[in-house]
Symmetry: C2
Subunit: 528 residues, 2 copies
């Protein structure tokens, strides 16, 4: 069994380990023959020291180094996509094609390249100049960022390859990546590719560091350390809230993406018009990747009517016949079973069959539960418990006024969808519900399922607490995601020669948007 090293202070080194662990192969249910260390505080200490030094070095390097690094890294990832998909498949059970080697890989390289562009365009800087007062401001890096990646996107949200990583580096901060323990080998391979890219362009190697695991206590200590400037966490609400408390009590920033039910509201006109296709979309969105997506629609509101009953029958049969994808861990099945049992105890009906045995693979039959609107309102907390996987709860609503009551009692979510008739039929219901739903979500959709989060500057992959920790920020979409890891810096009466180029009266760099005396302007080529 190979005992793996961690990447600290610019080199692969033996961890100061408190324990060792091996990931599982979800497809076989067997442990993988590789052993990874649980780091002690000593490793974190080394990482913090090296990251602080790398931060100082990054400040004196030209911005372009980071852009070159991100591009080189994206190229390395593409050149090694088969190896990445292979090891990620072993560790996560996610399909090699199209999921890993096509969809997720290209999303990942696109994010890295867009982050490189954001550096070159200074689009995240938010440059504001007040000539009359000789005051200028923009955003600057803040220091070492700790990234805790989730289990469900080993590439695109990976701790050393995903959106948080790209955003933190783009702003000029070193990253201490904490791998998700379900896919340490994938993260190791990414780190090797990042290391090669860093070497090739001359980025300080301690700008990127990797530990695989640490005790919960050391995790709390790491995010609250005074050398840590910010933390990005994607994962469970329980772990997220513990980290949030530790970081914020110490005055440190933390950005969290925790849990979301992503409610889908089906208005009666939509069902009268396209019940079958909505059933298709809903089933695909819920069962794809075994529903292990932050924006999986876990809650669907269906009218208590004949049309609603038909739709429920349609999704029931689809859930039963849809492929049962592999879960990332045995815990996923356990958690779904536990939450669904509790919901059934409180009156939910089970619409699909019980779990079948399928050998040792981690899986759980696609699960559909149903509850009446009245019952939901009697136990709003338990019926809003997230089942992270291929499971959903149907809520049968009596009238739209009942939906009003329900939405007002809902927690913050990443997304909310309303399906309505293509003509005017549902418009008054939509107009009643939309303002309420919008208040509870970060992204509102029409006639479309929430999964498949586009990498777009207009995207909001964020939302009100407890879906995330701050309603003003997004984890996907540049340049906004970069701005989470930046501090506002103002230059008041600072001499021209001492200003950063882009804050000068006449910068050298051309084509950069600046907000000057109330208007946006692009810099011109000053050498012309």
């Amino acid at each position: 069994m190979t005992k793996h090293k961690i990447f600290l202070a610019g080199e692969w080194r033996q961890a100061d380990s408190e324990a060792w662990f091996s990931p599982y192969n979800p497809t076989t249910g067997q442990p993988i023959e590789d052993s990874y260390p649980v780091s002690s505080w000593q490793d974190c200490e080394v990482a913090l020291k090296a990251a602080s030094e790398a931060f100082e070095q990054l400040k004196t390097l030209g911005e372009n180094k980071r852009a070159l690094f991100l591009d080189a890294y994206a190229n390395n990832i593409e050149a090694n996509k088969d190896a990445l998909a292979e090891i990620a498949h072993q560790e996560t059970g996610l399909a090699v094609v199209p999921r890993l080697s096509e969809v997720e890989l290209s999303r990942t390289t696109m994010q890295l390249r867009e982050a490189a562009n954001a550096i070159r365009q200074s689009s995240w800087r938010n440059i504001v100049i007040d000539f009359a007062n000789n005051i200028r401001s923009w955003l600057e890096p803040i220091g070492p960022v700790v990234v805790f990646g989730p289990n469900n996107f080993p590439f695109a949200f990976g701790s050393i390859s995903g959106g948080d990583f790209a955003a933190a580096i783009a702003a000029g901060n070193p990253v201490i990546a904490k791998a998700h323990p379900s896919h340490p080998g994938t993260t190791r391979l990414f780190t090797e590719l990042a290391q090669q890219a860093a070497v090739s362009v001359g980025l300080p190697l301690a700008s990127i560091q990797l530990v695989y695991a640490m005790s919960p206590e050391n995790g709390l200590k790491l995010v609250s350390d005074q050398r840590t400037a910010a933390t990005a966490f994607t994962g469970s609400k329980k772990a997220g809230l513990a980290l949030k408390k530790a970081a914020e009590d110490a005055g440190n920033l933390i950005y969290l993406e925790m849990s979301s039910l992503n409610p889908v509201i089906l208005l009666k006109g939509a069902l009268s018009e396209s019940s079958e296709s909505i059933a298709d979309e809903f089933t695909a969105s819920c069962t794809m990747a075994a529903g292990q997506l932050c924006t999986k629609p876990g809650l669907v509101f269906v009218p208590n009517s004949e049309l609603g009953d038909i739709f429920i029958a349609q999704i029931k049969s689809r859930f039963e016949s849809a492929p049962v994808a592999t879960l990332l861990s045995p815990d996923s099945a356990t958690n779904i079973a536990k939450t669904s049992r509790e919901q059934i105890r409180l009156g939910a009906r089970r619409l699909t069959d019980l779990s079948s045995e399928e050998g040792e693979r981690f899986c759980n039959n696609n699960l559909l539960l149903s509850v009446e609107g009245e019952q939901f309102l009697q136990n709003v907390e338990m019926f809003q418990a997230e089942m992270f996987g291929n499971a959903a709860l149907v809520v049968r609503y009596r009238e739209v006024t009942q939906l009003v009551t329900i939405i007002n009692k809902m927690e913050g979510n990443l997304t909310g969808c309303i399906y309505s008739h293509s003509q005017n039929i549902d418009e008054s219901d939509y107009q009643l519900l939309e303002p309420l739903l919008r208040q509870k979500v970060g992204r509102i959709l029409n006639d479309k399922m929430p999964t498949g989060v586009a990498v777009s500057p207009a995207m909001n992959h964020g939302g009100p607490f407890p879906s995330t920790g701050h309603p003003g920020f997004t984890a996907v979409g540049l340049p906004a995601s970069i701005q989470r890891f930046a501090g506002l810096k103002c230059y008041d009466n600072v001499r021209q020669s001492r200003l950063p180029d882009l804050l000068k009266d006449t910068p050298k760099q051309e084509g950069i948007w600046r907000h000057i005396d109330g208007q946006y302007q692009q810099t011109e080529d000053s050498t012309k």
Copy 2:
């Protein structure tokens, strides 16, 4: 003695009081013959309910109502400036002319009017459109905002008249104002003027509510209530940190401006060139308004040299001869005395005379202490304790390398100044120190004292913890200060007819900046 009412749910009503208090007249040291209630939780409950209802009403009103309100309010303030200055002078001891009726009043009305302009220009909305993906996002209001105003700016940072108030209203949020108990009468008069403005334009009256005081426990309960969307607090670190913990543990937003020493570094060339004028500027900045300013320079670094000794003698004599302004409360003098005693115990020398007796007026002689760089480094925490008032600590540094060590141990501050020679003499020292200082402050200044915070879109009145709670936001300067009280909302595949006007392909409103497919564009007049 008049027992005053609170302004709750649209009307002046008897508080459900737990106790009563009277403010002091700092100029006479005597209590003012007016009595104000300490509200019970029942009052907070009424305020939260009314604010939540007002929020729903604000969402359906046109944006322009809020702009009209802010403009009308600014007009009312101007029409009543003598009365405002008179009552504020009684309660704070600040001079009527020029401070209250000219400087602070015009700053206040300017802020309100600029907030109205920000509404009309949608400059805070951060509109981003991705046509190809049909995804659009902008910022929207989040709900009731609680504003705790400070004691030192009864107008411009007042809980129902200042920058936080203007920003929260501009974003479309109702405000629950918690008056500072040192100037409740001033706050009452502002509330009456705001009420008149709200009535005149038809703004829901519960958009603006006022309570005077509450127990610390009820304060914590208020900021952590689920109906409170955000809190803005300006005041002491101790109170700020308690509120921060309560709000964040509940998942609520809080923006804090707490404490700052605002270090001023004097390089040797600057002293050789303009010691006298720097001494003038420093003394004015420290003693104006009895130094009760968030950006008062409380720490000045002077070379341990003959030039430095001359400068110290210059400020010593100026501190002794400068007028001793009135302090806002007897606590100010007590806190300064306590902190200075502690610093003297740790080796600081007292450069100016002990407090003289001046009748009953709240005041304290302008206080200057001095400490060697080595001593500072031995007790960095105590020598960074804020003395909120007309007091400053001189730190004599041996070499610039010692300043490097000191800056690296400094806490986060709002501002940091470097004075240097007008020619190249100090340039290498500047280049060594500036990157370190910049990391510790929100605003860096050259050859200029930090007081007199310009109301500018490029201003940053913010900084790293513990000067504020979030390094990315400013309390002064629009539109950035508004964006603190907003949530990012994304519209994904939402039908054209259902989009807010400014997110439509062709909005009706013209001249509004939008970020479309990577470029800033202004909307055109679609009726042309």
